[in-house]
């Protein structure tokens, strides 16, 4: 056997180092005597090995190594200083690579192997995403973490700019540890083995256009792909009525890129892939996230039901099962009501039951559609938001030459408040007058009032409206009018 040479030492964990060497001449693998000592005070440690690699502790400063191959007269001596030892972290391994197809997101999990290190360290992880049959790098990201002498499972998400179904996505990772106290050269670990999420273009019968029937925000940049059989020739791909230049992803997958998508019509925008003897397609719905509801206002007309109204803001452009949905949540009671809203007309309203023994309502109007959500809130004392229903059955119950008695009915329970009613009196030869009268509220009851100081033998037109007396909010609508002529003066 020849003389040992090129002794190199590498550490993966800052505890131990792996030293390897060559033998100057070819020869079999004979026995080798390997001895080392870290300084003059400590005894030499020796052992025999047939390998040309040995794992020994990392020295504080330097280590003297002597190697004697069998069949040679003299041992060869090497002095290894810490600066000669290179630090290369262990190759990381991906624990899991999980696709979320609806969001085209990959979730990567791996262990940071922190337990192998003697103290906390800053680690850099480089993650590469590759695509297509040619495994082109489409993304390289650096992720920082702190090693804490425990094995921590790290997790990282990446959203692809194209559906994961379009073609296979590959991921690999490597690590660099910034061990500032370690003076030797430091380097990246090897790349981990590649993990793959196969695309539909690897599945038999996996053809179709992807993403399938997505809902996206106006202004999005979209990638659609057409997965087809190997022998199927693809003619073109259109988005709406426009044909787009295709990019080939693999022998079974082509894609188009649509920038700054505009709002689609109610039945969506068709993405059509014309193959030789077949049509494949998807329908994309491009709309807006809901606006924050404006002018949220709630009132009751009968102390049985609270009616909240609001202005929805910009239409979302989404209909049917993708329409914007509304929920009214009341914090105090925890009660939740789903609102039936017609997305076509402008007025939005929702009913919420008046709850026993509850005057103050802390409403949150939640709005959501597949693109986003928003909310508005309103704190209201419902007794201060009374707008009675239109007074009904206004009738004259009596009259003489200078006065008229009226009666009317209001549906609803107003026992908690006083009512203020306003009677409009007009006649041919006097100006329209308003006569206010207040009375205790009752439950679905009739109310009366008397008008005095009228002119004899005069025809009067009368109508009434009501509101809350103490905390005025809004008048009801006017009742239907009645006419009455006062009798002649006696």
């Amino acid at each position: 056997l020849g003389d040992p040479q090129n002794l190199k030492c590498v550490t993966h964990n800052l505890h131990k180092m792996l030293c390897t060497w060559d033998i100057s001449s070819r020869g079999g693998r004979g026995q080798t005597d390997f001895c080392y000592t870290t300084n003059d005070l400590t005894p030499q440690v020796c052992f025999k090995t047939k390998e040309r690699r040995v794992e020994i502790p990392i020295p504080e400063s330097s280590i003297t190594v002597t190697i004697k191959s069998s069949g040679t007269a003299f041992a060869t001596k090497f002095v290894i200083r810490q600066k000669d030892i290179s630090f290369v972290p262990v190759t990381p391994h991906i624990l899991s690579l999980t696709p979320d197809f609806p969001t085209s997101t990959l979730n990567l999990k791996w262990s940071d192997n922190g337990s192998v290190f003697p103290y906390g360290l800053d680690a850099l992880w480089q993650i590469q995403i590759l695509r297509k049959e040619a495994m082109e790098v489409v993304a390289q990201v650096t992720y920082n973490s702190k090693l804490t002498q425990e094995d921590v499972i790290l997790s990282w998400n990446w959203t692809s700019d194209m559906p994961l179904e379009c073609t296979s996505h590959y991921v690999k990772i490597r690590c660099y540890i910034n061990a500032t106290q370690f003076v030797g050269p430091k380097d990246w670990s090897d790349w981990s083995p590649v993990e793959v999420i196969p695309g539909k273009d690897t599945e038999p019968g996996g053809s179709g256009v992807f993403p399938l029937d997505p809902v996206v925000a106006v202004g999005s940049d979209l990638t659609f792909c057409c997965v087809h059989e190997e022998d199927q020739r693809i003619m073109n791909m259109t988005y709406g009525s426009k044909s787009y230049t295709m990019m080939q992803l693999s022998s079974r997958s082509h894609a188009i890129r649509v920038l700054n998508a505009s709002v689609s019509n109610s039945s969506g925008t068709n993405v059509v892939c014309r193959l030789e003897n077949e049509l494949e397609g998807s329908v994309v719905f491009v709309g807006y996230a809901p606006d924050i509801p404006q002018n949220l206002s709630c009132e009751t007309s009968n102390f049985l039901m609270i009616k909240c109204t609001w202005k929805p803001g910009r239409p979302s452009g989404l209909y049917g099962e993708r329409r914007t949905k509304y929920r009214l949540f009341e914090r105090t009671s925890g009660k939740n009501v789903s609102c039936e809203v017609n997305e076509v007309n402008k007025d939005h309203a929702c009913g919420f039951p008046v709850l026993p023994d509850q005057k103050t309502y802390d409403f949150i109007l939640g709005v959501s559609n597949p693109i986003g959500q928003a909310q508005s809130s309103l704190l209201v004392d419902i007794t201060q938001r009374v707008r009675p229903k239109t007074p009904e059955k206004l009738t004259v119950t009596g009259n003489n030459s200078t006065s008229i008695q009226l009666r009317w009915f209001i549906n609803g329970s107003f026992v908690e408040i006083r009512l203020l009613c306003q009677i409009e009196i007009s006649s041919s030869h006097s100006e329209r007058k308003l006569h206010n009268v207040s009375m205790p509220g009752r439950k679905s009851s009739t109310y009366t009032a008397q008008l005095n100081a009228l002119h004899p033998d005069t025809k009067y037109q009368l109508r009434v409206r009501c509101s809350a007396a103490d905390h005025f909010w809004r008048w009801s609508d006017w009742s239907r009018g009645v006419e009455q002529t006062t009798s002649e003066a006696p």
Partner: protein, 197 residues
């Protein structure tokens, strides 16, 4: 000398002529609806649609050799199928569009009524000829197997296929009913749906 019309022959001719008018109106409405449907669904009017599962084909071989009963039975089976297909289209329309495009929904609903009326009309003709009406009860009990869940684009294409085929069927029905309305020699002797010439 032309034999005096027997009451059932006269009734059959009347039912046939009313059926012809109904089929003609249905065809005109289907064609209008097709244009609106293509536009509203953003489809290419020239798109070729493969045969859609469950849609009865109007084209028939040796049409001339069909008996009157065969014509009626095939027509009835077809319009029952179209009734189910249109009802499904209407359901999908409401699901996908809600109150938007209410016009198209109304037109689809109106067409569904016409198809139902025409199916009933065909049953009347079969009753007139003392032919048993194929049991729809069995159909309703088991009901057609639920169609596979289609993607939205496939739903649009199927709708196109349904309306196109229905327009073809309306044409065929007019021809079938004209054929039935003709007095065949046999009917002079024994009214009933004799074998066609």
């Amino acid at each position: 000398m032309a034999a005096a019309d027997s009451p059932s022959a006269a009734l059959r001719r009347d039912l046939c002529s009313r059926g012809i008018r109904l089929a003609g109106k249905m065809r005109a409405d289907v064609v209008d609806l097709l244009d609106a449907y293509v536009e509203q669904q953003g489809l290419d009017a020239s798109a070729s649609v493969a045969a859609v599962e469950g849609v009865p084909l109007a084209a028939v071989e040796r049409w001339d050799e069909q008996t009157g009963t065969q014509r009626l039975l095939e027509n009835l089976a077809a319009y029952r199928a179209f009734r189910a297909l249109l009802a499904q289209m209407l359901e999908e329309q409401r699901e996908q569009l809600g109150e938007a495009e209410a016009g198209l929904g109304r037109a689809l609903a109106a067409l569904l009524l016409q198809v139902s009326a025409f199916a009933y009309h065909l049953e009347e003709l079969l009753r007139l000829e003392n032919r048993g009406i194929p049991g729809e009860e069995e159909e309703e009990e088991d009901g057609p197997p639920p169609p596979p869940r289609l993607s939205l684009f496939e739903q649009k294409l199927r709708g196109l296929g349904v309306l196109r085929e229905l327009a073809q069927w309306a044409v065929r029905s007019v021809r079938d009913l004209r054929q039935l309305a003709k007095p065949s020699p046999a009917t002079a002797a024994a009214p009933g749906l004799a074998e066609s010439p």
